[in-house]
């Protein structure tokens, strides 16, 4: 167990170093950092002194080590576009993205799991068939197209909800929330539906497949033979045993909500980190890009690590397999 944790931790550190290397390379291969900072009339001697002060004449290894140390403290330098510390900008944008992702994840779980259970148990009812057909369309329609259609119908034609932005937000310390105002809730409905739709269909299909698999097993047949109610069989026996893969895969999948948030935020002009990244790419705002890169890398590494460890804790069979593999 300990060896496994250490091995996984080591791998995570390596991945983070690779991500940091890419972020570092961004700074170094895009033009001359000095020219980005000083005006045309700065003398060569002044430039050289600045270069020395900033440590740009040090060796690659020293510079990279310094970059990692700064990054670990959350110091990403100044944004080229806004001339403010990048850490500050990210702190401002983070609440918007986290709130949106949280509502979307909740929506996907609250609807996806029951729909999966229903379609898994009643495989041939027309309601299940309809749900599956709709989910196929949900998978095939690009996220941004779903967003555009929702805007067209509910914001432009019906005028029920705003088509962009977060509505009115309330400041609580450095955190801003739209969850406390009616405007905020109205604004989050469409983006949250857009963001959750893919995950919803994914979770539904996963739960359905697992339910069908488990309902085929011998112990379910035996439970039926014992004359247990179908309620006890479906929920007490079958559902319980589908939960292990569902929890872990869903956990991994929730991470990709952050990735898809980039698209949703762009469609709805939602002022979060995803929109910030896209704007940074368009303006070649390297410090912001580098910070986003490191942040997303970190986020995914942590999710993967937690899910891996969770899998190990939840499923005893995995432990034995590993021990056998290690012994043989």
């Amino acid at each position: 167990m300990l060896a496994f944790i250490i091995q996984r931790l080591l791998q995570s550190v390596l991945v983070m170093l690779a991500v940091a290397m890419i972020a570092f390379a961004l700074f170094n291969f895009v033009g001359d950092p000095i020219s980005n900072m000083v005006g045309q009339d700065t003398t060569l001697a002044d430039r050289e002194r600045l270069r020395q002060e900033l440590g740009l004449n040090d060796s690659f290894v020293v510079q990279f080590a310094r970059f990692v140390a700064h990054t670990a403290r959350g110091d990403f330098g100044l944004s080229y576009q806004q001339a403010r510390p990048v850490g500050q900008i990210i702190l401002e944008k983070m609440p918007a993205t986290l709130e949106l992702s949280f509502v979307a994840a909740l929506l996907a779980l609250a609807l996806g799991v029951p729909m999966g259970i229903y379609t898994g148990i009643n495989r041939y009812s027309w309601v299940s068939q309809a749900m599956l057909a709709i989910s196929l369309i949900g998978v095939s329609l690009p996220t941004f197209l779903i967003g555009i259609l929702l805007i067209l119908v509910f914001a432009v034609t019906l005028g029920w909800v705003p088509s962009f932005g977060r509505g009115t937000v309330v400041h609580i310390g450095w955190w801003t929330t739209g969850m406390l105002t009616l405007e905020g809730w109205r604004a989050i409905i469409l983006p949250a539906i857009t963001l959750s739709l893919f995950q919803l269909t994914f979770i539904m299909r996963l739960v359905r497949a697992e339910m069908i698999e488990v309902l085929r097993t011998d112990y379910i047949k035996f439970a039926r033979a014992r004359g247990l109610t179908s309620r006890a069989i479906n929920f007490g026996h079958a559902l319980k045993n589908t939960l292990v893969p569902v929890i872990t895969i869903t956990g991994l999948q929730l991470g990709s909500i952050i990735a898809f948030a980039v698209i949703t935020e762009t469609v709805f002009q939602w002022p979060g980190m995803g929109l910030m990244f896209i704007q940074a790419v368009t303006f070649a705002d390297i410090p912001v890009m580098a910070a986003y890169l490191v942040l997303v890398g970190f986020f995914f590494v942590v999710i993967n690590l937690v899910v891996d460890l969770l899998y190990y804790v939840v499923d005893p069979r995995l432990r034995i397999e590993r021990e056998v593999a290690a012994g043989g």
């Binding site: 791998q11 991945v15 690779a18 890419i22 390379a25 961004l26 291969f29 895009v30 196929l136 369309i137 998978v139 095939s140 329609l141 690009p142 996220t143 941004f144 197209l145 555009i148 259609l149 805007i151 067209l152 432009v156 088509s163 991994l252 991470g255 990709s256 990735a259 898809f260 980039v262 698209i263 762009t266 469609v267 990244f277 896209i278 790419v281 368009t282 070649a284 390297i286 890009m289 890169l293 997303v296 995914f300 993967n304």
Partner: protein
Amino acid sequence: MAEITFPDTPAIVARPPRWRRFVESDLLWSFSRSPVTVGAAIVAFVIILAALLAPLIAPQNPYDLASVSLMDATDPPAWLSDGDWKYPLGTDNQGRDILSTILYGTRLSLLVGCSAVLLSLVLGVTLGLVAGWRGGIVDTLIMRVADVQLSFPAILIALLIDGVARTMLPREVQTEITLYVLIMAIALSYWVHFARTVRGSTMVERNKEYIQAARVIGVHPARIVVGHLLPNVIGPVLVIATINLATAILTEATLSFLGVGLPPTEPSLGTLIRVGNDYLLSGDWWISIFPGIVLALLILSVNLLGDWLRDAFNPKLR
């Protein structure tokens, strides 16, 4: 059956002509039995054909400034009250015929999608063959990278590669090579599935008799891998390629929609939807909805074809 003169001689009856084997194959039979698949194939075929023939069938060349008039900007589709049959699906903000821009845009979307899949196929199959054949540290290295990459969503990887590459390139050449950067970014995000599948089947095939026989008689390893091993591991690769084509087209459209894909001077379906998105709030829905419908139909039909192909090749489901 006229060509069979000696029905008793096995050497002659053994192989009917190629087209006949195709017509009588299980594959075609299962194809004709699935109306959804036939429908998807027809839709995909029509879209691809229309895109290929775009210069011949488009009512207007939307990138020829002489044929475009700003007077006709944002005309609605022909069946609406202000519409004009000159522009069946209406016009965009610059007076270009939507139908024509869609035909040209689909061409670019397909070009990027197909090139990206081809590139990721070559990359993934090569790395998979090397990893499976050589084993050892090469195998560990390639598969570790694949594992790590698989833990991130592919679309995010494509977005990051594209964004980083775009920033690192000098500004003067950026617009000319965006197309290639985009293809590279998508290809680099989807090679993993190919590599994993090929590595798995290579490790199985490596120990079979025909490979050992080839080794014993002293065939060069490179020739064994390319000539004998490759044909036996390529089957599943084609299925993955079809499914990945849908994903690659989707990724291209998404990146273009986000404004980090193809530029407005070379619009793909995603770019067209992005342009139309700005006019959505003023009620000019047709600019983005029609390209959107074509994109959705294309992805859905390719997806359905891929699903069918996967099931048809999977002996477990027979």
